[in-house]
Symmetry: C2
Subunit: 453 residues, 2 copies
Amino acid sequence: MRIIIIGGVAAGTKAAAKAHRVDPNNEIIIYQDEAEVSYSACGLPYVISGVIDDSRKIVIRQPEDFAKEGIQIFIRHRVTGIDKTRQQLTVRNLKNNTDTVVDYDRLILATGARPIVPNVEGINLEGVLTLRNISDLGRFKTQLTALQIKKAVIIGAGYIGLELAESFHGLKIKTTIVEQAVGILPKFDAEMARLVHDHLLENQVELVLDDGLAKLHGENGRIIAIETKSGKMIPADLVVIAIGVRPNVELAKAAGIELGITGAIAVDSRMETQTPGIFAAGDCCETVNRITGMPIWMPLGDIANLQGRVAGDNVAGGNVHFPGVFGTAIFKTFNLTVAITGLSEQTAQESGFDPVSVVMTGTDRARYYPGRQEFSLKLIADRLDGRLLGAQVIGGGNVDKMIDIAATALLGKLTCADLENADLAYSPPFSPVLSPIIVAAGILNGKLIRNEN
Amino acid sequence: MRIIIIGGVAAGTKAAAKAHRVDPNNEIIIYQDEAEVSYSACGLPYVISGVIDDSRKIVIRQPEDFAKEGIQIFIRHRVTGIDKTRQQLTVRNLKNNTDTVVDYDRLILATGARPIVPNVEGINLEGVLTLRNISDLGRFKTQLTALQIKKAVIIGAGYIGLELAESFHGLKIKTTIVEQAVGILPKFDAEMARLVHDHLLENQVELVLDDGLAKLHGENGRIIAIETKSGKMIPADLVVIAIGVRPNVELAKAAGIELGITGAIAVDSRMETQTPGIFAAGDCCETVNRITGMPIWMPLGDIANLQGRVAGDNVAGGNVHFPGVFGTAIFKTFNLTVAITGLSEQTAQESGFDPVSVVMTGTDRARYYPGRQEFSLKLIADRLDGRLLGAQVIGGGNVDKMIDIAATALLGKLTCADLENADLAYSPPFSPVLSPIIVAAGILNGKLIRNEN
């Protein structure tokens, strides 16, 4: 059986490896339009900051490594058409622009996502960049090393924008973030997002909110300033468009493969599309929010890996399921770690829950243990039955631990009463005597019993 | 109503604070035989090492702080008798050795535990110490500052012994650990304990296993060497007895309050003893292992706090339950963090489960992210239904996060299949793209499906 995988970054390579392990007798081929496969897109901001000193480090495996396992990778090959009926692909070799038609037995779409680029005047000026693929790094490097970049504007205050703001700060580049919404981080509740907002200001990042990109101004073909919708002119040596990504679904759509309501490819829990034998995984497909049961598009590297594993298993004859996501995400900006899992209070309300919440300050060590750091922790529960609905943690210290405890609690459908007596690991270098999660759950449980807000 | 609490370290003070919050109209009295209340015994090894530079820092609250809330604390007062029928206590003021009889309406026993001290020749020599209470610190300080301690022997390779070995190493004291068992850390499976064993040797700690303390040799009333049961003589300027602790139950026993099969005070899930109106919490009482359902004695600071909260709530008229423990514990020795939750593979077998396990190496960050550290992770699951039974994690990096995810998974009765698709927080500074817990659960789930060992 010939299994073809379109896309070789996260979901695609994971699916290939899994499919090979499940049944080594299949022929497995990956087509990847970039020159690199199997790289960590999440590492890109850290290559730009120099925290990761060599871009080759974020390439996890080479095509040769896959070849040793019998997985063939064709780099710089783009699939331009899928014929579902004949089970054939048209593949363009980007090195010589020749097309070939290739038969497949089963197919996995792992075509990923791409940055949204607004169609405004000046968008093609030199010095206007996006950061999504490893091939974007070269352009960044050219700008950052060849030129004296002193002022940058980042359009969009999402994860990538805020990670890049930190990277630029480290490179002594004065940075302005322009965001169309009234506040940054719309997935977080306003009082939590505000902590990040204030921290950015403290770190000399300028924030222009409730305003969008209208036009880019250049001189000799090079960016010199941006103009916002409100008419503000912001000088810039470099502009990064980071307003979000959209799934690469054109190929699927043209082939008649169904998309979901999020606009990404619709799949069942086996990661199979509505066309039997064609699977999808990673940023090109949607999944299910395990709390609301609603479709959600969650283009993140870890989810792509989880889905790739399931698609790879099933494409090779397995029968495993991907149950969906809780919306867990984490990133770092300056000295803050910013993390979320489950529903925000606002999303919970919008989804028909009656949420009750608590916000408190927690620490990562016993109060007398040196080096202790603080964070703000918000827990959200359902008033009906006390079940945890979500958590947001922002600050220093082991924010990642807090959010992973909460994410595991969501997985276990735990209530605040359950969490209040969790048996978590305590020793002074690792936690206060009662974990902030336990304390917060206790406060929330008390509110539920007394029926407070 | 007068609520009297015997003991004012962790469970006692927590119970008092909770009881006061539940009903501020009660009279609440704590009798504490030491001069300090509300201190963190878990911080003691770090005061000895100097990581915590002032012993006063581990005292969380002063009697005056409690007095402001209307909680009366009598320090250096020892309760010497309980008359259940008359609901009276005999209390000795240790400052002037006078006795008073005091009425109570409800009682909480929070009498803690004390080190086991073997009755061997030379046990009272100067320089032979135990570390349990804050009052032990003075003796350590005298020894460590007034004398040139060059060689120490620690009897017992439990948590306190291993924490102290690190403290002594930092103080340039050559340390030997003598342990009666054939290996250190009996709660861990042998292959995991071995990692700690080897790390101790690498850090110039001498280990004498399968051998016990027979006799202490002195000169002019001061320790100069220990003799082991096998006849080995080990020179020592300082000896610490750290072979374990036992619950302080003499007072309860004399009063006719039932003990459990572990030898600690028996309580129900409301932390009430078999004598109505008398509660117990903390190191003096036993609890339930939530996996086996069997009584277990777990003398740890966080459990004492959790139990104190429940006892304090119920003594004041509440009706809350402490559901028991999973046996979660963590400590640090040299560069290793050592953590466990749930059952070891051996305990699982002994408890009648058919366990299947995996041991793997995990890391705390993406492989290309600087500063990444490694740990060994063992997961144990039930072959019957794939349910997680326990985890052990030993190494550098965020071992505490791994064990808390596992502990929360135990709380949620999660299976390996559940954990394999956990939605944990990923970003390169915080985790590899798939958390080691997810990877380990996936391997274990694969073994279960294929029915391997």
